[in-house]
C-alpha cells in the first residue's frame, strides 16, 4: 500500500468512533507463555484510555493475526497487532495518554518502552524457553496443550528452537539470568518510576505493568526474576496500584503475594 493510501485509511479509521464491540484476541486463558506480558499490557492500556474491549481467548490466535504477532485487536474493519501500533491507532481516534508530556519526556518514555521490550520481554522468553527445567515442565506442555500429538511436539520444539536461535543471535545463549541484564533493567526501572509515573499514567505504565505482573503471577520452576521484582518495593507497589485501579472488582484481593 502506498503512503497516500496508508494516510487515507488512517484518516477513515480516525473518523470513526471507538465501537462497543471491539475485540482483543489472545492465546488460551492462563497461557502466558506465548504472548508473555504484552497481552496484559494492551488490556491495561485500553482500560487506562477508558476504551471498552472484549477479550477473546483462542488457541490459534497467533495464526489469526495477519502479522503473526499477538495480541491483536479487531475494531470495525481494522485489525491492529502489538502495543506500539495499537497506541498509534487509538491516538488517531483521539485517545492518548501521553499528550501531557513534553518532547524530552516523550523521547524518554519511548526509549524506556524499547528497554522494557528489549530486556524484560526477552528475559521472559529466556526463562521460559532457555531454562531446560522450565521448558520441559511448563513451557512446552503449556504451548502444545491446544494441539494433538504429534503436532503438539513439533510446534513446541519448533518454538523453543526459534527462541534459542534468537537468544544466540543477540548473545544471550549460554548465559545465566544474572548475566542477561534483566536484573539491571529492573534496577533502571526503579530509578525511573518516581520520575515518569507521578503525574499521570502513560503507555509506559501499561507496558511495565503487563510485564511485571506477568512475571509475578506466572508459575515457573525458577522464581528468581519474580523475587527480584519483589525486592524493589516501589515496583511492587506500582503493580498493586495499577491492578487495584484498573483490574480489581473490589471483592478480590490482589493476586500479587
Amino acid at each position: 500500500m502506498s503512503l497516500a493510501a496508508d494516510a487515507f485509511v488512517s484518516q477513515l479509521a480516525a473518523a470513526e468512533p471507538w465501537p462497543e464491540n471491539a475485540t482483543l484476541y489472545q492465546p488460551l486463558k492462563g497461557e502466558l507463555v506465548r504472548s508473555s506480558g504484552t497481552g496484559l499490557s494492551v488490556v491495561a492500556y485500553l482500560r487506562m484510555c477508558g476504551l471498552p474491549v472484549e477479550v477473546v481467548y483462542r488457541a490459534n490466535a497467533e495464526y489469526m493475526s495477519p502479522s503473526g504477532k499477538i495480541p491483536f485487536i479487531h475494531v470495525g474493519n481494522q485489525v491492529v497487532s502489538e502495543l506500539g501500533p495499537i497506541v498509534q491507532f487509538t491516538k488517531a481516534k483521539g485517545h492518548s495518554l501521553s499528550d501531557g508530556l513534553d518532547d524530552v519526556q516523550r523521547a524518554e518514555m519511548k526509549a524506556y518502552m524499547e528497554l522494557v521490550n528489549n530486556m524484560l520481554l526477552t528475559a521472559e522468553l529466556y526463562i521460559q524457553w532457555c531454562d531446560d527445567a522450565t521448558a520441559a515442565e511448563i513451557s512446552r506442555p503449556r504451548y502444545s496443550s491446544p494441539y494433538s500429538w504429534p503436532l503438539s511436539n513439533i510446534l513446541s520444539y519448533q518454538k523453543q528452537w526459534e527462541v534459542r536461535r534468537k537468544m544466540n543471535a543477540i548473545g544471550w545463549g549460554g548465559k545465566t539470568l544474572e548475566q542477561v541484564g534483566a536484573a539491571q533493567t529492573l534496577f533502571m526501572l526503579t530509578q525511573r518510576l518516581p520520575v515518569l509515573m507521578l503525574l499521570f499514567t502513560t503507555e509506559l505504565d501499561a507496558l511495565v505493568f503487563g510485564h511485571l505482573f506477568t512475571i509475578l503471577t506466572t508459575r515457573l520452576t525458577s522464581a528468581e526474576l519474580a523475587e527480584r521484582i519483589k525486592s524493589y518495593s516501589n515496583l511492587l507497589s506500582f503493580c498493586r496500584r495499577i491492578e487495584q485501579t484498573y483490574f480489581d472488582d473490589k471483592k478480590k484481593k490482589s493476586r500479587i503475594s
Binding site: 500500500m1 503512503l3 504477532k69 518532547d103 524530552v104 516523550r106 523521547a107 524518554e108 519511548k110 526509549a111 524506556y112 524499547e114 528497554l115 521490550n117 528489549n118 530486556m119 536461535r165 534468537k166 543471535a169 543477540i170 548473545g171 539491571q184 533493567t185 534496577f187 533502571m188 526501572l189 530509578q191 525511573r192 520520575v195
Partner: protein
Amino acid sequence: MAAPDELFCWEGDWGLPSVSTDCLVVLAYAQFAGAPLKVRKISNPWRSPSGSLPALRTNQKDTLSRPSDIIIHLRKQKYNADYDLSAKEGADSLAFISLMEEKLMPALIYTFWIEPKNYVDVTRRWYAEHMPFPLNFFLPGRMQRRQLEKLRLLRGDESLEAGEELEKELYRDASECMNLLSQRLGSHKFFFGDSPSSLDAYVFGHLAPILKSKLPNGKLQQCLKSLDNLTNFCTNILLLYFPRDNRESPSQKTSSQPEGGDFDHVPNKRRKQILSALVALGAMLSYALLTGMVSIQHVQQEALEEPPDLQPIGSHDDEEGDG
C-alpha cells in the same frame, strides 16, 4: 607494566576512524574513557583473534567480540566514561541504547547491506577493494548473508526480503528514533552534560556512517542532515577525538567521481587484468576441449612406424557396390 589490550577493528574511510558501526562504538568509548588500547586497523577479519571485527585481545589473552562485552571489560579495568552519571542518567542511557538497537540498527543494516544499489555500489565494493585476494571474492557476500539473517531475527520475520514496504517501515522507525535522539540532545554538546558517555559512543557509532558515507540511496542521510544538532554532534566528536581520521581519504575521492572514470582507479589493476585474461583463456580452452573442437589423441608408437595405406578420398567403390 602489563602490555595494553589490543583492539582489532575495520580500517577507516570517508573521514571516519572505522567504517563499521560496532568498531566506531568501541573506538569512541575507548577515547572517551581514555583507555590505553593498542589499535590495529585491518581489512582482513581472519587476522582478528576471533575471526570477526571488532575484537579485543586482553592481557590474559582472552578475546571479546561484542561492543557491550568490550565496554564492560574496559569498565572493569577502571576506564569508565559513565563514572559521573547519576543512577537516573545511567537508566536513560541504557534505554536510549535499547531504542537505537530496536529502531535504528535494522535501518542501518538495510541501508548498507540489503538496499541493492547501496550494497553493490558502496558496501560490497568497499570491502572487495580493501580485502586481500581471494577473500574479496566471497567474504562480502557472506557478510551480507549474516546481516540479512541478523535483520530477520531483529524483525522476527523469517521470509523478510528487500522491498518498498520493508524499506518504508524501517526508515520510518529510524526517522522516529533520530528525532527522539535529537529531542533528547537538545542544544547540549553531549547527552549528559559536558563530557561524553557510553550513550554518546553508541549514538556516534550508529550515526557517523550514515552521515559520512556516499550512498546512492541516501534517504536516511537526508533525514539525519535535517537534524542539525545530531549532525553537529557527530562532527564535533570527529574533530575532538579523531582529528587524524577526519579528512577526505583517497578512496573517498575515488568513489565520489563519475561512474565513467571508475575503472582507471581500481587498486591492483594490472594484477586483476592478468587474472581476468587467464580466467578467460582457461574458460575458452575448457569449452574447446568439451565440445570437441580440439581433441587430444593418444597415438601408439607402432602406428607411427608403419603408417596404414590411406584410401584416396575420391574412391567410393564399396558403397556404390552395395547399392
